[in-house]
């Protein structure tokens, strides 16, 4: 009697877990498939396959039989990549967006951080209004923003003719910064909100502790708030770096306003003009190198900032 009552639970204990696992698994597996597959299939079809196809396309070259024979695509190894690395237009376009990024991204994020801190400070009145006013440009699509600023920069139509009549903001030497202004105008408010919501998530006890230690508003902002919103800053920085290397919309629209933007002004414009030649293989090779550069740059940035945060 006593031995059997002990034996039964023991046997049950041994059997139950595997039994439950066996009973649960088909439904759980099915559920996981139902959850993951729809996204997975589309991600495969419209992300992974295109990336694979771009790599494949970049390995092809066009061969002709004689001078007038029909062109055929054949495997050409890395010969397109040799062309990419020899292409001076490509490297000067990369240089241009890097220069853009080195100046524009820090300026934009510094402004965003400043506004977020001001929004978060108890001294500022009318927070709701400022938050909306600063965020409003984000509702303007890049194409529209570029068209608007194109007119605002124009020497004859701008409301700021006292500036634009004297300096041609769309000349070859200034147009990059004219674009930087458009990008900054659109994205400062967006980045400000991301940093601001990270500030809101900081528990207020921390501020009280700092205040008890005798820290003023500036000291709190500098030594408490900024370190705590660093993850948000890193996130916004990574997205800004990606956006900078991929710059396309604004310069493409500005080509309607000025001739100082060439068809090779940014890497993506070069991809676009190369593919309209059409030379898809070279364009694909540009794309692959650009995507890799973007990937490596944002990865290195993440690593560097995370290393710093750990110290």
């Amino acid at each position: 009697m006593s031995s059997s009552t002990i034996a039964v639970p023991v046997r049950q204990k041994e059997q139950r877990p595997p039994q439950r696992k066996r009973r649960m698994q088909p439904t759980i597996v099915r559920a996981i498939l139902i959850f993951v597959l729809p996204f997975g299939v589309l991600f495969l079809a419209f992300y992974l396959v295109p990336i694979g196809y771009a790599v494949y396309e970049s390995l092809l070259v066009i061969k002709r039989e004689g001078t007038f024979g029909p062109p055929t695509q054949v495997f050409g190894g890395l010969s397109q990549y040799v062309l990419v690395f020899q292409n001076s237009d490509f490297w000067s376009s990369i240089g241009r967006v890097l220069l853009f990024g080195v100046i524009q991204v820090p300026v934009m994020l510094a402004l965003a951080l400043l506004f977020a801190l001001l929004l978060d400070s108890p001294l500022l009145k009318g927070k709701k209004f400022f938050r909306l006013a600063f965020f409003a440009p984000y509702a303007v699509p890049g194409v529209i923003a570029a068209i608007m600023w194109g007119y605002l920069y124009s020497p004859s139509l701008s409301p700021f003719r006292f500036v634009t009549a004297g300096v041609d903001l769309l000349s070859a030497s200034t147009v990059l910064w004219a674009i930087a202004n458009v990008v900054t105008w659109v994205y400062v408010g967006y980045n400000m909100l991301i940093i601001y919501s990270a500030l809101l998530a900081i528990p207020t006890e921390i501020y009280e502790a700092a205040r008890l230690d005798g820290a003023g508003q500036f000291r709190i902002a500098w030594s408490v708030k900024i370190p705590l919103v660093t993850p948000a800053l890193v996130l916004t920085a990574v997205f800004s770096i990606i956006g900078t290397l991929q710059l396309l919309t604004e310069p493409q629209v500005f080509r309607q306003f000025t001739s100082s933007i060439t068809s090779t002004f940014t890497p993506n414009l070069l991809v676009y003009s190369t593919s309209s030649v059409p030379n898809f293989s070279l364009a694909a090779a540009f794309s692959v190198v650009l995507a890799l550069a973007t990937f490596i740059l944002s990865f290195v940035f993440l690593r560097l900032t995370q290393g710093k945060a750990d110290q």
Binding site: P38, L118, M148, A291
Partner: protein
């Protein structure tokens, strides 16, 4: 306070300029002070809008409609799929979970512009370029949405609730749609808005893939109009009014969904 005031002007003057310019005839646009209305502004504004909506058999409302379908339908569908995937990655332990998540995370770093050309090449292989689907289908996929959904699911759906639903006999999928979605809903609004904005702003993919004007989103449409300004000077007025009208839906979406995204926006950066 002074800084905030100065920058308020910086952010709002261009939009105010757009509003003022929309109420002017081409002659007044070229000659009058560009930051204030003219005596005939009201009537001229109405004329401009009527012209905008009737020009070329109403191609502009067609573009607006297309943009709304691309952004709302594809964005909505994309949000649900991203939520499902992110939820599964957060709540179930299975083999390959981390691999899937890391691949999706890699996808976040792959910019949409880099995909436009290969997508064009693939769609041309299957004769699908210049179709509604060639813009609609790629717009559904949002790896960033999956990334956010995973974080949100982990923080807002307690395992105990899923376990309780399981004991009550609810299936996994039903639990997701009746319980988890509700708990995640403020966050999902953020995911949706992110995707809505990125589709609404999408320019390169339609530029590369579409030829048929009736399929254009409004961004591409206004871009082509603006390229015709030198041949058809009158169209400049339409570009300006169209630009104003095209930003209204986003402004409305932001204002009406404000209380959701304000809370959700920061969560992505917290992890």
């Amino acid at each position: 306070m002074l800084i905030m005031g100065v920058f308020t002007l910086y952010f709002l003057i261009p939009i105010f300029w757009l509003l003022v310019s929309s109420t002017k005839t081409l002659g007044n646009f070229n000659s009058t002070f560009s930051l204030w209305f003219t005596p005939t502004s009201l009537a001229d504004g109405v004329t401009n809008i009527t012209k905008l909506f009737t020009y070329n058999d109403g191609i502009f409302p067609r573009w607006m409609f297309n943009s709304i379908v691309y952004a709302v339908v594809a964005g909505g569908l994309g949000t649900i799929l991203a939520a499902m995937c992110g939820y599964a990655l957060s709540k179930y332990r299975f083999r390959g979970r981390e691999v899937i998540f890391n691949v999706v995370l890699g996808g976040v770093l792959v910019p949409a512009t880099a995909l436009a050309l290969p997508l064009f090449l693939i769609f041309s292989q299957v004769q699908l370029t210049n179709t509604f689907w060639s813009v609609f289908l790629p717009s559904i996929v949002s790896p960033f949405g999956v990334y956010l959904s995973r974080i949100y699911a982990a923080s807002s759906v307690p395992d105990e609730i899923i376990e309780a639903a399981r004991i009550d006999g609810s299936g996994e999928v039903r639990t997701f749609f009746t319980v988890a979605v509700r708990l995640m809903s403020p966050a999902l609004v953020t995911v949706f808005l992110f995707q809505f904005v990125s589709i609404w702003n999408n320019f390169f993919l339609p530029l590369v893939i579409l030829r048929d004007q009736t399929l254009f989103p409004v961004t591409l449409g206004l871009y082509t109009w603006n390229s015709q300004v030198s041949e058809i000077p009158d169209i400049r007025t339409l570009v300006i009014v169209g630009a104003l009208v095209s930003i209204i839906p986003l402004l409305v979406a932001f204002l009406s969904l404000q209380r959701f995204w304000r809370n959700g926006l920061g969560s992505g950066g917290l992890k």
